[in-house]
């Protein structure tokens, strides 16, 4: 299947060896940007799923005027089916949070503080049943899901992922377009040779293979170099920010699947370039007699 990549030596001489072709550079730059954008997209996706996973089954009970009612609500929650953990939030923590909103007024002991209780449910537990149990003992309790509070963040993370995917697709389209241009200019530069080859009985397939091979090689060299440079850049960035990010998401930002995906990008671009070049060359050849 790949025999066209490794033709006999005489066939390799059929196209002149032109040094300093722009193609590997163009593909290299495209590849660099694509890998960085794709890595960012994967990291965002990973962070989003970590954040989502952490709060998936976490709920918050708020009791406006706190006090003893909080303890009642907590024990009601504990007795509800599917509740795995109940953590009353210490008053100091609530004040600390409020301080960022209210400033020093938050330390005023007269300020009525709500009581907060975090509860975790087992996967598949019915939050409505828990809410009902709590509100049957403490009617003024408010029951909210963490994931609802985080919904705007989750939405923007999802939007960023789509943006990254869109950019990768755009880069692929731009690469394909530049391959078409490169193929056309290569055909133009070798116009006489092609006429001669046709004249002595070469098929379009035989001629197209020459150009297809050349562009595949250029794309692979450019793609590998661009992706390698991108990997180096990403490692540097990760080295600087790795600790913070790592702590935040509890591990590597991009998993093994993501790494594989990134490593396959240069191959995918090479394949894309080859297919596009072949189609462009065959189309141009058919326009001649």
């Amino acid at each position: 299947m790949l025999s066209w990549m490794f033709p006999p030596v005489p066939e390799r001489r059929l196209l002149p060896d032109t040094r300093g072709r722009p193609m590997p550079w163009v593909i290299g730059i495209m590849m660099f940007v694509t890998v960085v954008v794709a890595a960012a997209g994967l990291a965002i996706a990973n962070s989003a799923s970590v954040v989502r996973g952490g709060v998936e089954n976490r709920y918050s009970i708020q009791i406006p005027d706190g006090g003893e009612l909080a303890a009642t609500a907590a024990s009601a929650a504990r007795s509800a089916p599917g509740v795995t953990a109940v953590r009353p939030v210490p008053e100091a923590d609530v004040r600390k949070t409020l301080k960022s909103w209210l400033g020093d007024a938050a330390s005023n002991a007269d300020l009525p503080l709500p009581s907060l209780i975090d509860i975790d449910l087992a996967a598949g537990a019915d939050p409505a049943a828990v809410e009902q149990r709590v509100r049957s003992t403490v009617p003024q309790a408010r029951f909210t899901a963490y994931k609802e509070q985080l919904a705007p963040l989750a939405r923007s993370l999802t939007a960023l992922q789509w943006l990254a995917l869109g950019l990768v697709v755009l880069m692929a389209v731009a690469t394909a377009a530049s391959v078409v241009l490169a193929a056309r200019s290569a055909l133009e530069a070798n116009r006489t040779s092609i006429e001669i080859m046709h004249g002595v009985g070469a098929t379009d397939e035989q001629v197209a293979r020459l150009f297809q091979r050349r562009i595949a090689i250029d794309a692979f060299i450019g793609g590998a170099a661009g992706a390698g440079l991108a990997a180096l850049t990403l490692l540097l960035v990760a080295g600087v920010s790795g600790n913070i990010m790592g702590d935040l998401v509890g591990g590597s930002l991009i998993g093994p699947g993501g790494m594989l995906l990134l490593a396959l990008l240069p191959l995918a671009f090479t394949l894309l370039a080859t297919v596009v070049a072949r189609a462009a060359v065959l189309k141009a050849l058919r326009a001649a007699l």
Partner: protein, 245 residues
Amino acid sequence: MKRWERGRTLTAIVEFDSVGLRYGTGAEVLRDLDFRLARGGFYFLTGPSGAGKTSLLKLLYLAQRPTRGRIRLFDEELSEAPRDALPAFRRRIGVVFQDFRLIRHLSAFDNVALPLRFAGKSEAEVEGPVREMLAWVGLADRASARPPTLSGGEQQRVAIARAVIAQPELLVADEPTGNVDAEMAARLLHLFDALNRLGTTVVVATHDMSLIAATRGAQLLRLEGGHLGDPTGNLRHPPSAVGLA
């Protein structure tokens, strides 16, 4: 059509039926060409400069399609042949172009080897015949030279070697001796003659009357102003009939 049937019984290799050719929107450079060439014949095509000799040969070696009329080649209708079928035709035709058409960055050896390699021959099948052919045209020691470093006559001989290397059924040569001295011209003609004896049909466009005179048994076609004239006066039952008579 009666004419065609007759042509076929005479084993024509080429049949032109009311063929005309114009480039773009210009006037017709070839008009009403009706003739057959017999398989195994040796033909000279003459006529003044601009008469359309190269244009007629281009129709023969499938570098042009006629703008009207029909051409049959190797007993197949060319106008019905799809583009994909043309390479197979071209592999049965050897061509010496008026402007040589060598690939500049390839050595003389690689240029001569082109038809064999595109026909899928292995390097073992290429090496010997190409060396032999280069020796025949007197270029054994120039095998690795590139065309720009060869003289006009040397380039012409490389072009001839490339045209005959695959022992084509039809050899089409456009002014093949225009750039060589009389001795080399005679030698090249001897090569064409040898090929012709092996069964190749030869069509040579030339102004060189001494060349024509030196080739016994050859037929003469004369083009003038896009029309095919016929010194022997029997073009409608053309050289093929004469050849078989």
